[in-house]
């Protein structure tokens, strides 16, 4: 696929970052434009650490750099002085970095090329004017360099724990666990001493049997309830750190024949977690390989854990990196530890600064003290629990240890915006958030206690039951209209705590701040400033994926997820349930085109179909079938009057073709957020009266008012109340991967032969190769050209 040249070039691009700090842009003038030099999304080693000095020093540094450049440009005769320049500049930056990287480059040199070829390659050109960037909720199509603050480097060794069977590692069988309330299946017990760390990747259940551990910035204490851990190369890996052994023992005893001396040490148990989530690597092949850790395990550690799908990692690798909790985050989290009064926690900051990661950590942190925590997602581009394109209120009762695609959830309340940014419907976006916040205030904040116990037998909890705090994650679009929207959100939710990521970018452009950061009218009790995360110098896999890649994976993960049915299906949808419905497994043996769909008769099951997004007002009723065929729609339950059954006088312009009109009104507005909730996405795989290519076999009989759709929403949710009778189609499309048939053949590229046994010429909507003719592709926006003045 990728040539050796490409791989080599990629490696070179990464290695050249040092040189780049001296040479990012050949024109000194480019310095004035932060955005011009931004070019490479990959790791940026050069300038870090500069920022933690006062801005005066920083300015000077920059000037020095300019001078260095000029000097360098003049001195064409001996170009190799460049090396000197770099050393002068970067010695303060990353001496320790180079140590680290040297070491692991040696270890993994053999893997390197192979991996580069196999997984999506990193940016290969130092400069790319037109490499499109699809970023979360943002106006700018430019990857911004994350000039960020210094923080401790990731440890070189991920695991200080050295497993020795019979001494600190024991295998247990289900009957040995019978006296404990933990899941009765084979497991491995690890005994850690304080301060010891162990990094286990893959998927597994983790139960703390004694003591306290810290994982992903969250402290976990003894509990019979296992935590599901998902750790893949696509995000920073969790390192389990033994914190203290002081805690109450778990009820029941660990069998003595294992010889575990319980009074000392921290004891955790690892058990197999079989979910099929790895199958998503087949579905979305850009993520192929992020689930595979086997090759990184040390020889002697193989089989040591004895848990399928869990891998013990000793050292840093080139492709993965551990989760490191920045000091400022740690302090901020500590400050929230004392409160027992709930509260509203708002997280805001620029994109790629770590908002979502921090919000997830905060959520997990709060779950230590509260039985449930609510999470209001305002970031349409990279949602935590739902697919992209919706604002959602989720009520969470178990910490999330994994990237967003590992916990697809039915939101407790949500509204579909239909785009990855609120830019085309800002007021609808705001009213949706207001509606969600209102339901939080009314139904969630102080729940009726009887409500809590329904469906839960875990009464032994010492967590706070009668208050549910709220974490609000905002979008990364923090300029212009985006900043305005975030400010309005802040005014709406009136946070008690605000966590703001301060990027050096904003402090350098005081104009931005003046214009956009008018102080919110409401002042929070606590306003904490946080350091943004820094891009890793080692450029592991997770930094190579774009927001669009993650979005595609997230959508596909939802469509393949298997969700449990709600415990009380008959409840009224307008009353918010506190139950969390999160995916337990993934069904990936069949691709979407092979999964048996639901047949839905739109005359009986659908009240209204709404198109949202700019330009959709122009879709006439006779064309709406075409728009829906193959579309991703949001399934909405509405109890308001605005989305009632269609009026009978819906006109049907060409009655011969359409037996019964699709209930669509041109230009109708989306369901009112106060009287509706979105359950999730569905894929309309086909419409009966609109089948563009011949049906492979058999006559076209059956109901002619039927559409076939795929959805992960449990059927019982679909007919709760009046039923989910409104479909909303937005701009979000099914990722191309979802249209392919990876289950063809056993070879990895089996999908290239066609879809569902049909050759490509009979597959609609997909076209191989480049578009012929001029302008066959989408317009491409670019804003980083150097103009005459800069030349």
């Amino acid at each position: 696929m990728l040539s050796a040249i490409a791989a080599r070039k990629a490696a070179q691009a990464a290695a050249r970052t040092n040189a780049e700090s001296a040479l990012e842009s050949p024109t000194p003038a480019a310095e004035e434009h932060e955005e011009v030099e931004v070019v490479e999304p990959a790791s940026v080693v050069g300038k870090r650490k500069l920022t933690d000095r006062p801005s005066g020093t920083r300015r000077r540094e920059r000037q020095q750099k300019k001078k260095a450049k000029r000097y360098f440009l003049e001195d064409k005769a001996d170009f190799r002085t460049q090396q000197d320049v770099i050393i002068v500049k970067s010695d303060s930056d990353s001496v320790s970095n180079s140590d680290v990287s040297d070491e692991y480059t040696d270890i993994n040199l053999a893997d390197e090329d192979e991996l580069m070829g196999e997984v999506r390659a990193p940016p290969k050109r130092a400069w790319s004017p037109s490499m499109p960037v699809l970023d979360s909720s943002d106006e700018e199509s430019i990857i911004e360099e994350n000039e960020s603050l210094s923080q401790s480097l990731p440890p070189r060794s991920l695991s200080t724990f050295h497993p020795i069977r019979g001494q600190n590692l024991f295998y247990v069988s289900p009957n040995q666990l019978s006296s404990l309330k933990v899941p009765q299946k084979n497991g491995t017990i690890l005994k850690l001493s304080p301060e010891e760390t162990i990094c286990i990747a893959g998927t597994y259940m983790l139960t703390v049997l004694q003591g306290t551990i810290s994982i992903l910035g969250t402290l976990l204490t003894v509990s019979p309830k296992p935590h599901n851990i998902y750790a893949f190369k696509s995000s920073p890996l969790p390192v389990i750190t033994a914190v203290s052994s002081e805690s109450t023992l778990l009820q029941g005893t660990i069998p003595t024949e294992l010889g575990i001396s319980m009074p000392s040490g921290i004891v955790v148990m690892i058990q197999e977690l079989q979910t099929g989530v790895e199958g998503l690597g087949r579905v979305c092949k850009v993520f192929h390989g992020v689930f595979d850790f086997a090759r990184y395990e040390d020889q002697e550690d193989r089989q040591m854990l004895n848990v399928n799908g869990a891998y013990l990692l000793r050292n840093l690798g080139k492709d993965y990196e551990p989760y490191v909790l920045p000091t400022s985050w740690e302090k901020a989290l500590e400050n929230t530890s004392s409160t027992t009064a709930g509260g509203v926690y708002l997280v805001k900051g620029a994109k790629k600064s770590g908002k979502s990661t921090f919000a997830r950590t905060l959520l997990n942190h709060l779950l230590n003290r509260f039985e449930r925590v609510a999470y209001l997602e305002c970031d349409l581009g990279q949602s935590e629990f739902t697919p992209a394109g919706m604002v959602a209120l989720n009520i969470v009762n178990a910490p999330c240890f994994g990237p967003p695609f590992t916990h697809p959830t039915i939101p407790n309340a949500a509204h579909y915006i239909g785009a990855t940014s609120p830019r085309s419907s800002p007021s609808h976006y705001l009213s949706c958030i207001q509606a969600l916040f209102r339901s939080y205030e009314l139904d969630v904040q102080t729940p009726i206690v009887s409500n809590i116990f329904s469906g839960s037998d875990d009464v032994t909890t010492d967590r706070i039951l009668d208050t549910i705090p709220l974490v609000v994650n905002t979008m990364g679009w923090n300029k212009g209209l985006g900043a305005d929207l975030t400010r309005k959100i802040q005014d709406t939710v009136q946070p008690s705590h605000v966590f703001e990521f301060v990027s050096s970018q904003t402090t350098e452009n005081p104009d931005w701040r003046d214009e956009s950061n008018q102080p919110p009218t409401f002042e929070p009790q606590v306003h904490t400033l946080l350091d943004p995360i820094i891009p890793s110098p080692s450029n592991p896999l997770h930094t190579r994926y774009t927001a669009a890649d993650h979005r595609a994976l997230n959508i596909l993960s939802h469509l393949h997820a298997v969700l449990p049915s709600p415990s009380s299906p008959e409840s009224d949808p307008s009353i918010l349930s506190l139950e969390q419905l999160v995916a337990t497994s993934w069904r990936t043996s069949l691709s979407l085109c092979s999964q048996p769909p639901y047949a839905v008769d739109w005359t009986k099951a659908i009240d209204r179909i709404v198109l949202v997004g700019s330009g959709t007002e122009d879709v006439v009723p006779s064309e709406v079938g075409r728009v829906l065929n193959g579309a991703l729609v949001a399934v909405v339950t509405s109890w308001g009057d605005d989305m009632g059954p269609p009026e009978r006088d819906l006109i049907n312009p060409n009655g011969e073709d359409v037996p019964a009109p699709i209930p669509y009104n041109q230009g109708s507005s989306p369901p009112s957020p106060t009287s509706s909730t979105c359950l999730g996405l569905a894929l309309i795989r086909s419409l009966s009266h609109f089948s563009p290519l011949a049906v492979p076999l058999g006559p076209t009989l059956g109901t002619s008012t039927e559409l076939h759709l795929l959805t992960h929403i449990p059927p019982s949710l679909l007919h709760r109340g009046n039923g989910a009778r409104v479909f909303v189609k937005g701009e979000i499309e099914l990722p191309i991967w979802g249209m392919l048939d990876y289950s063809v053949g056993m070879r990895d590229d089996g999908w290239k032969s066609g879809v569902a046994g049909l050759e490509w010429s009979r597959v609609p909507y997909l076209r191989w190769g480049k578009g012929e003719g001029v302008g066959a592709d989408k317009r491409r926006v670019r804003r980083n050209l150097m103009r005459k003045g800069q030349m």
């Binding site: 050949p26 170009f79 075409r626």
Partner: protein, 474 residues
Amino acid sequence: MILPRRVPWATLAELDQLCSWIYADKADFDSKLLAIHRLSAWRAITYLPHALESTLALLVSITRDDIAHDTDHSLFLRQSYAAAIIRLVNGFVDPLQLGAYARSIASIANQIGLPQWLVELRHAATHEDLPSLELLREAAVQSLNWLLHHYFLPILNPSSAVEPRQAPLQSLGPLLKQYKSLCKITTRDVSLSSAYKSSITALVRSIERWISEAKVAANLAAGDVGWVVGSQYDSAFSDDHEKEQWALEKLCDALLEKGALVPLSRKKRVGPSDTFYPPATSIQIWSPLLHHLQEFHPELPSIVCGRIIAFLSDRDETNDENKSDTTFETCLARWVFWVVDTWPSNSQVDDRNLRQEVVINLMQALGRNLGNGFRNHKIAIDLLQRLCHSRPEWESPLNMLLQSSTPYRHIEWQNGHMDTMDERLERLQTLHQESETCVDTSSSEDVIQTYASGWKLLNTTWKPCPIGVHWATV
């Protein structure tokens, strides 16, 4: 990984129908309206190709104009037309700004054959007085025609499409020559370097701009212009890669001309005797340019080496006037060595790989020509030995190559070979089958579900088919 593209039409027949609605009868208002409705629907399905989006905008303006009354304010129509044309031109030209430095819109438009006066009209409509209705109407008609010939016809009927008028790529020679003469002056007299600095920088940028022009030309040569959509993962990636390679190869060809990397004068071609480097003055002249270019084009070193090796191993000797003189080839070989030896020094990771790649290339070239006694054999061997120097891992293949004289035998194709290949494939596939343990945890939970009214789960009667195809139940 290259994926198919998502297009709004199910089959090309749909696009064909749209095309006939628009172009069949210029006066047919209703069919234009059908086209507008269809395009609006497509727009709601997925991102429209830019040509279609422009078509929609133009059609809306034209149909609106058709039904406009004399009493209507003309400003409305003029703005509608003007916006359509501005966006048309921008949308075609912007994706082709492929370099680091902006090229003029007119020069890009010229390259893709977009009428110049549309570019002028764009300028006028954006920055000057809004053009007159008459002019705009004419522009809209011409734009639609241009789209027919440059978009619809090529895509509907690839073979019969008119070749896009392609402006030939201008020669790089003069630029390189100019660069060389300026650099010569500054290397001879360092005190002049500041005086000439700006003009040299300007030249380097012109060369950079030439590369982006070449990339556009590469696009045209490949028969397409717009670039791949961003949401489609790696496709843009590999494409980009090819175009860039094409452009850089063209650049290297110009550099390999006599008088560029290799001096014209035979006397000056002699390199230093202690190293295998090219002449010092040549290095002084060219290394700044090469380094600068490498900044933006990291694969330049490997392409330079590849081109030189290809040149050295070229057996075609027809146009060579004096075979006894090998100074030119020797000098080129020395450049390869220089590139491998000094270039990647600012990125340690790469050294091994570039050297390895060059060595493999060279060995292959030598191996293919074994026994043929190709002309530059000695030079190539010399270079290879120097590259392999103090690399014990390459000793044995090197020795094998030096000793063996039997040329590579081409194996004749026999029918049996197909069977062998099939057998191997089968073996590989079964291997894969064994390793692939597909976890499907959920097939067992088939609880009787109650479905909402109008919903049912299809099970037995339904057969897999592509998304968008309806399998009807009987």
